[in-house]
Amino acid sequence: MSAILRLEGVHTNIAQYQVLHGVSLDVPEGGVHVILGRNGAGKTTTLRTIMGLWKARLGTIQFRGQDIAQLGTPDIARLGIAFVPENMGIFGGLTVEENMRLATHDGSFDTERLARIHAIFPAIKQFWAKPAHALSGGQKQMLAVSRAIIEKRDLILIDEPTKGLAPSIIRNMIVAFREIAEETTILLVEQNFHFAKALGQTVAVIDDGRIVHRGSMTELVEDAGLQSRFLSLSLEAH
């Protein structure tokens, strides 16, 4: 499987602190790929660096063979990369419809695609004209994901979508993500191993700003030794 995204020796600083110490990672095209790690390991920084929200100090980031490490965030987004941040990035003062419309390139909806999103996330249709700040946490997460897929994207970066969500909503999310992954590639950052293993095809474990393990999710799920070695810290919490 060819890599849609390739990170090579990426170093990122936030102010005077170095957070990523040479992250190298291949994300295959299609399916769901997961970055696991404990709090502060560098998961969010990796996604934000890919998105250009924090600049890589060293290293290359290639998307479909094009180096994007020094591109601005809007240019990266226009290449077909969507981003769902940890705080969901919902515009609370706008309606659900306006949030969705903003994510389209010309302000108009593909009705077939919108109907599909409504089928995946019925709450989006139900609260279409409501201000987004009135939504619950789970509904806001649905809106954030819906916004990312309102147009065809090649890659979606999603940062801890299960954070603070009830188990029943997480189960719905798993179903939704499987459907979304049929047409696009998802790079998912998670701490919730149960969610990650239900979706992920490949997994990378990050610790202290370095990738310490890469492989298939099946291998990690079946090998208790690997889990104990790389994930003991994060798994204990779940």
């Binding site: 965030t73 941040p85 515009f91 994510a103």
Partner: protein, 339 residues
């Protein structure tokens, strides 16, 4: 859930919202003033003066509010655009001479509109220059923003003194807008009606742009979360330039209108108005045009009522108003960002 289990404050807020919410505050203020003043004709005159003053302050404040809200820029140089607008407006009115003071109402109005247009265009162009040269290098750095915009303000005021001198400059008022009309025993200055109507037109135009266009949608989204707007593929820096130009243009337009209202202007005009402008931005809520309008009307009405009732308290009353509103709503009456 029974009614008694809902906190009193929540129930009170819900009750107020049912009857128009905080938008009712100017009405409440006007009612209290009516009781205190006692004479309907005086009250009506003061109310119209307050609404006109409020609309002119709204012109100056709305742009600053958007600049604060969208760009997170503390622009203490905003008053330079107000002053420059006032002087350019006054100069154009003086140049047009007979157009403005003659007996032809159409020429009078054309002269005034030309003066306002000249001030507004200057404000937009100066705003573009100011954003590119002064503001751009200090984005994300509030301390430097304060220092450099205060510095730029001093430079701008000195330039105005250099060009127009330190003596107060009389502003010719278009003949068609001089004098008053008497309606139901209430005397109302025509210029105040014009100022109110112009402010209303600008508000409606801004409201439509912000709520009915994609550009407006982007600005409203940018006020809430600049980073996410960029992550959706939009160049926020271009939006910044546009909003800064619009904000500066509105300040200059407000300055030109205020010059006509005052009749005599000095280089300190902008700085004097900025206290009220900041109060409006703070009590209205950052980045909110409706908030700016509401705040400006409250400030205009309060200034006029208190100046009549307790003249020494005129400025202090607006400070007290700000304190009371911030204690009640720390993010202002109608903040753009919903928390």
């Amino acid at each position: 859930m029974s009614d008694t289990s809902i906190p009193f404050r929540t129930r009170m807020s819900a009750g107020i919202d049912r009857f128009g919410g905080v938008m009712l505050l100017p009405v409440v203020l006007a009612f209290i003033a009516f009781v205190l003043i006692g004479q309907p004709s005086t009250w009506a005159t003061l109310t119209i003066a307050g609404l006109a003053m409020g609309m002119m302050i709204f012109l100056m404040a709305s742009g600053l509010s958007l600049i604060f809200g969208l760009m997170d820029v503390l622009n203490f140089g905003h008053s330079a655009f107000v002053t420059a607008g006032a002087f350019i407006g006054a100069t154009v009115l003086a140049w047009l001479g007979f157009w403005v003071t003659g007996g032809n109402p159409a020429l009078n109005l054309a002269g005034l509109l030309l003066a306002i247009a000249a001030a507004t265009i200057f404000g937009a162009l100066a705003g573009w220059f100011f954003e590119r040269v002064v503001i751009k290098p200090v984005y994300q750095d509030h301390l430097r923003q304060i220092l450099i915009t205060v510095g730029a303000l001093i430079v701008a005021e000195e330039l105005i003194l250099l060009i127009w001198g330190g003596a107060p400059i009389p502003v010719p008022r278009p003949a068609v807008l001089t004098g008053s009309i008497v309606f139901a025993g209430v005397s109302v200055e025509i210029y105040r009606i014009f100022a109110f109507l112009l402010g209303l037109v600008v508000y409606v135009a801004m409201y439509l742009v912000l709520n009915r266009t994609r550009l407006g949608l982007l600005i409203r989204a940018g006020v809430e979360n600049r980073e996410m707007v960029e992550a959706l593929g939009f160049r926020i820096d271009r939006l910044f330039i546009l909003v800064f130009m619009a904000g500066s243009a509105l300040a200059a337009m407000g300055g030109a209108m205020w010059a006509g209202y005052q009749g005599l202007i000095t280089a300190a005009l902008g700085s004097e108005m900025m206290i009220l402008v900041f109060i409006v931005v703070i009590i209205g809520g950052l980045g909110s045009i409706q908030g700016s309008l509401l705040g400006a009307l409250l400030v205009g009405l309060m200034a006029n009522y208190v100046a009549f009732l307790v003249p020494k308290m005129a400025l202090a009353s607006n400070m007290l108003l700000m304190m009371a509103i911030l204690l009640w709503r720390p993010y202002g009456l109608l903040p753009a960002v919903k928390r």
